[in-house]
């Protein structure tokens, strides 16, 4: 019972860390934009990168995307992203 709680304690720490990181990244992106510290093209790349990190954290830490068998969860997501990306690219090129 004691070992269990220690293990779970570690887990809750992980969750908390992920959350903290996300808030941090959001705040950072927010301030970068608010004060326009960097030139726009680079800024866009940077905040997009921040968003990507946050998405990966959500999927991996909170949503448990790395299941044990099959990899169907990731496959489903990749399939959707592929179609979505095609749509976005060609709608922008419009």
């Amino acid at each position: 019972m004691k070992r269990l709680s220690k293990h779970t304690n570690k887990e809750i720490h992980k969750l908390f860390l992920s959350f903290l990181l996300m808030i941090l990244l959001t705040a950072l992106a927010f301030f970068l934009v608010l004060y326009q510290l960097i030139s726009p093209p680079f800024l866009i790349v940077l905040i997009t990168f921040f968003a990507l990190i946050q998405i990966v954290i959500q999927l991996d830490r909170f949503m448990d995307i790395r299941e044990k068998e099959g990899g169907y969860r990731l496959t489903s997501l990749i399939g959707g992203s592929f179609v979505a990306l095609l749509a976005i690219v060609f709608l922008i090129l419009l």
Binding site: T26, F30, F62, L77, V83, L91, I92
Partner: protein, 197 residues
């Protein structure tokens, strides 16, 4: 009761199928939001008589709703953590905090929209605003649906406890909630932040 842990509930065949089905629904939702983002990006510059993104958005308030939703995602994760430990009351508590934060988010969004409309930025003002409200509205509707759904599940959790039936449902609801949050992160970045650059 120790023998039937939540993990076992979640590993049950029907539960596994439900979770898998839900992941494919997420795949579908990715396409839905992807297309909505596509529409938004395609007409972003078509502001016509209406305000531009830069003129319209007030970043400080968006930051607040972002923090609210991120926190709700975190409390939701905590709730699932307690669900895994089969702690009914704590699960209930944290899910409750989650939906309260969700409600707060909806409130903030409604306030934001009414403010915009008062400034004359209506849905029919320009293509940009149409796409903006369409995207944000779809997301907001998802949040609202999540709030109602989770509250119904909480009633069930209260009545029946953590069992074969409620555990997978709550787990799936949490997936849904995190997914909404993922979408918000993208909206926050692409719509608000880049709109301000």
């Amino acid at each position: 009761m120790e023998t039937m842990s939540t993990q076992m509930h979640l590993n049950h065949k029907q539960a596994q199928m439900n979770i898998l089905a839900f992941w494919f629904l997420i795949g579908a939702e990715v396409v839905v939001f992807g297309c909505l983002f596509g529409i938004y990006l395609a007409v972003k510059s078509l502001t016509g008589q209406g305000p531009t993104p830069n003129e319209l958005f007030k970043l400080n308030e968006i930051m607040l709703s972002t923090v609210v939703l991120l926190t709700s995602s975190f409390t939701c994760a905590i709730a699932v953590y307690f669900l895994n430990l089969s702690k009914k009351l704590l699960t209930l508590l944290f899910f409750l905090i989650t939906i309260l934060l969700g409600l707060a988010f909806i409130g903030l969004e409604i306030r934001e929209f009414t403010l915009y409309v008062e400034e004359g930025a209506k849905i029919s003002t320009s293509a940009f605003l149409g796409a903006f409200y369409l995207l944000l509205g779809t997301h907001g509707f998802h949040v609202l649906f999540g709030v109602i759904w989770i509250s119904l599940l909480l009633v069930q959790l209260w009545l029946k406890g953590i069992n074969q039936e409620t555990a997978p449902k709550l787990f799936i609801a949490s997936l849904y909630w995190h997914f909404i949050d993922v979408i918000w992160v993208i909206i926050f970045t692409i719509v608000y932040l880049i709109g301000k650059v």
